[in-house]
């Protein structure tokens, strides 16, 4: 049975009391503990910095050439907090409530409440670090509104909020590097976690530039290694984002929760041809002022400006009058899919919908729009060659974020003691759908304000015992597996590139486990994926050697893990016979096409155990209990 270790007592005081109940490590003893943090995005960098400040000895690892390049940097829109600076009725409880509702009642109440509770501390911390949030003329912080909320609670730094928050965390980390508490390892990829006597005690890593493989041991290992949307090949994730660290932990015994809960973001630039390498996101904040529409007539041939109001279908405003263009992401994405599937898509490939600023420009003036969204408009023009001040943007949904991830308890510990997962790498707070501006909040909440407390409770009883020696046989075995896989890739000498296989895998996933899923499609995918994986193992071509920079070799290992994960995603989507949030099973919908949940049978987390065979995982369940939020049909009408 899965024990989430949620503390007793009223929701509002659980965390406060729990902080008191947890064991502490005395300040002078903290330096006797070694902690490994893998990943240096918002979650990893903030955790490593904070643990260093507390006095722990920390080793931080990133496969990138600098922590500042982690993909958190691409987040554009903002970060939520329940500051209620605008007296518009916000509160910790409302942020909690919106997040649970937005997640379609598939998240753990206690975790979400804690997230809302620490959200305010995050803003204080970041401002003190020098994050240049947008300000009003009086010098106080500005806010804007985001999808799924009826209050303005989103703090932002132009369209570069993720960048500024990441740089804040990176700088805090750099300060600890200088102080000598954190040892920073850049250009190093984690390839396995080492488990001794059931506890995580270290990792095996590879230096990407030299190919050197080395072992590191510690009292605890923290994974802040992000999400797996790149399983789809085309996504808004950075090219190197991958599931490898989390997946290899899964293979060592960590349960993987709700893998089918993926977020397809409604506002990305539609793809233009088959060589496209990634999809570019246009911030959700654009939906504050842009109006989304398609022509009513599928055979419409006029340009957007020549189509009169009467011939336009502002379908979000029509279907969801109270939230309109700010309907949550899963709902907006599906609504776009509906109109495009009806043949009413726009653009040369008829694969997009309009996001139109004409009215906002007329109402607010071009300067005001430029101030808010200037960099996004420029980015759009650079990519498409079209000027959004003149012609409406074209957008279409794209894989963006993954709510699923390693199962963690209230302490953010996985099912392997000593192995923690934070940020997007865990499954915890967003249920079946994440609200906009909540990923940055969760990454920093976990890293700055949650993990540094809970990890102490795990470490305290180990005082006096040194980290396991890296000459232990478990390290030998893990290293041998890592080396074996690398040798196999280089020896295969097949005919097709790693990217070719990744593209094919992505196509299967997108077609069958994307915005809408059904039994026959998922079953088809479950037969196609293992067949393609077998072909990959026999026919992949990885050139070069293992002792220099070799990006094909790096990718091969990551794609191998995506293959196994993809099967689990489809399996999870198949057994979840309901629709909720981003998981839309066509068999389960209301008469007007909304997601139809089944709370009697599916108000639980599916947490999967690796069985040694990617096609036969074992399901465990954590039943979700709702004491403070009443489950209802989610309505944004």
């Amino acid at each position: 049975m899965l024990d989430a270790r949620v503390p007793d007592g009223p929701l509002e005081t659980k965390w406060e009391h729990h902080k008191f109940d947890m064991k502490l490590v005395n300040p002078a003893n903290k330096r006797r503990f070694q902690i490994i943090v893998v990943g240096t995005g918002l979650a990893g960098a903030s955790a490593a910095a904070t643990l260093g400040e507390l006095g722990y000895r920390v080793k931080a690892f990133t496969y990138l050439d600098s922590p500042r390049r982690a993909h958190s940097i691409s987040a554009q829109g903002g970060i939520n907090a329940a500051k209620n600076y605008h007296s518009d009725g916000d509160s910790i409880f409302r942020l909690f409530y919106d997040t649970v509702k937005g997640g379609d009642y598939r998240s753990r109440e206690a975790n979400v409440y804690r997230l809302a509770e620490v959200s305010n501390n995050i803003i204080d911390q970041c401002v003190a670090q020098g994050v240049p949030f947008a300000r009003e003329y009086g010098g106080l912080l500005d806010n804007r509104s985001f999808g799924g909320a009826q209050v303005s609670r989103t703090f932002y730094a132009r369209g570069q909020t993720g960048q500024q928050l990441l740089l804040g965390a990176y700088q805090a980390l750099a300060r600890q590097v200088k102080a000598g508490t954190v040892e920073l390892h850049t250009g190093i990829e984690m390839l396995d976690v080492v488990v001794v006597d059931g506890k995580a005690v270290g990792i095996i890593v590879r230096d990407l530039a030299t190919g050197e493989i080395s072992r590191h041991s510690a009292h605890a290992v923290v994974l802040g290694t992000g999400g797996y949307a790149n399983a789809y090949y085309l996504s808004t994730n950075a090219m190197s984002c991958n599931v490898t660290a989390a997946w290899r932990a899964h293979r060592k015994g960590a349960l993987f929760a709700n893998p089918s809960f993926t977020q397809i973001h409604p506002t990305a630039i539609p793809s233009s041809d088959e060589f496209q390498s990634k999809l570019t996101l246009m911030s959700e904040s654009l939906r504050n002022d842009g109006r989304i529409w398609v022509p009513k007539d599928p055979d419409e041939s006029r340009g957007p400006a020549d189509i009169p109001e009467d011939d336009r279908d502002y379908y979000l405003e029509r279907r969801y009058p109270s939230f309109g263009n700010l309907a949550p992401r899963d709902i907006s994405s599906r609504a776009a899919k509906v109109v495009v599937d009806e043949g009413r898509g726009v653009g040369p490939l008829k694969n997009g919908v309009y996001l139109d600023f004409a009215e906002a420009i007329e109402r607010l003036g071009r300067d005001a729009i430029d101030e808010k969204y200037g960099n996004l408009f420029e980015m759009y023009e650079r990519i498409t060659g079209e000027d959004p001040y003149q012609v409406p943007m074209r957008i279409y949904p794209a894989p963006h974020y993954t709510m699923g991830g390693l199962w963690v308890d209230y302490h953010l510990q996985t099912t392997i003691p000593g192995l923690f997962a934070i940020g997007e790498a865990n499954f915890s707070d967003h249920g079946a759908n994440r609200l906009g501006a909540s990923a940055l909040m969760q990454g920093l909440a976990d890293g700055y304000f949650v993990l540094p407390y809970t990890i102490g409770d795990y470490l305290a009883p180990q005082l006096g015992s040194p980290p396991v020696d890296t000459s232990a046989s478990e390290f030998d075995q893990a290293e041998a597996e890592v080396r074996g896989q690398i040798d196999r890739f280089l020896a295969t000498n097949g005919t097709r590139s790693v990217d070719w296989f990744h593209r094919e895998l992505g196509r299967i996933l997108w077609d069958n486990c994307g915005m809408a899923r059904n039994r026959s499609g998922l079953e088809k995918a479950l037969s196609e994926i293992p067949a393609l994986r077998e072909e990959f193992e026999k026919d992949v071509r990885v050139l070069g050697s293992a002792d220099t920079l070799n990006s094909s070799l790096e990718k091969a290992g990551r794609v191998a893990d995506f293959f196994e994960l993809a099967e689990l995603m489809c399996k999870d989507a198949l057994v979840r016979e309901e629709s909720c949030g981003g998981h839309f099973r066509e068999e389960h919908q209301t008469e007007d096409g909304e997601a139809l949940r089944d709370d009697d049978d599916f108000a639980h987390v599916s947490a999967w155990e690796w069985s040694g065979n990617a096609s036969a995982p074992t399901e465990h369940r954590e039943v979700l209990e709702f004491e403070y939020v009443e489950l209802s049909q989610r309505s944004y009408k």
Partner: protein
């Protein structure tokens, strides 16, 4: 469209390098520059040749990973554009393009078009932060920041750390990168307590790794984020002030 690429290939940090010529044929004008390289690499793999290693990650112009000298220009011909945001419509059919890594001793070559920019991290570690332990911050609205100051700080903070400024500089100087961080923090009230110590510490480390600034202005022209060299003037002013104030004991 069809192009001819002359690409710097270098097997490792100590190996000799050379230019190799590749034909990039049937390239869509709508594809990005890096997608063009992806395609060239796919074809190289088909032919059994090792693909060209190049730096890239987010492909949205924000992570700062990418960077190629294209016909001698850092990030290529389009202003305020990182390599990953450059699209093939900026080029003509039949063009010959010379692709080189960032060329400066501060960024040693790792392989092909990939360089080691860890010297930038060393500069930030020297003082590019505000010392505030987690949990010790006052309420975010306690200290108002005039909007103009916040906006100017944000202009500086927009730096993505790609290194184009150094690559474009005839002296291989990193003044624009360093000044962007010094100014970002120095313009905010939160950054005042460490302002003068910070600038001296950062400049000292910068000078260990990079050349000296002679106000050529190439950095600003190459910067994908349009960071202004006015920030270099601000940094120099703070540095001088710091020296006169003799704030530092080292």
């Amino acid at each position: 469209m069809n192009l001819t690429l002359r690409v710097w290939r270098q097997a490792g940090p100590d190996a000799p390098g050379r230019f190799e010529t590749y034909e990039a044929t049937d390239i869509s004008a709508d594809s990005s520059f890096l997608e063009m390289l992806d395609l060239v690499n796919e074809r190289l793999i088909e032919q059994g040749e090792e693909p060209i290693e190049f730096m890239h990650d987010c492909r949205e112009g924000i992570c700062g990973t990418c960077g190629i000298m294209i016909n001698g220009q850092a990030h290529g011909p389009q202003s305020s554009t990182a390599t990953c945001q450059l699209h093939m419509r900026s080029f003509q059919d039949g063009d010959e393009l010379v692709l080189e890594p960032w060329r400066t001793s501060g960024f040693p070559i790792i392989k092909d078009l990939v360089v080691d920019r860890s010297a930038f991290d060393r500069i930030i570690e020297a003082g590019g932060y505000i010392s505030v332990d987690t949990g010790s911050a006052p309420d975010a609205n306690l200290i108002p920041v005039p909007k103009d100051d916040a906006d100017l700080a944000m202009d500086a903070a927009a730096c993505i750390g790609c290194g184009a400024c150094v690559a474009a500089c005839p002296n291989g100087a990193a003044q624009l990168f360093t000044a962007a961080k010094v100014s970002h923090l120095g313009l905010l009230p939160q950054g005042q307590p460490e302002r003068y110590e910070r600038v001296v510490d950062m400049v000292e480390v910068m000078e260990e790794h990079f050349g000296s600034c002679t106000n050529m202005g190439e950095c600003e022209a190459a910067c994908p984020k349009g960071i202004s060299i006015d920030f270099i003037a601000m940094m120099n002013r703070d540095y001088l002030k710091a020296k006169f104030r003799n704030r530092r004991t080292a």
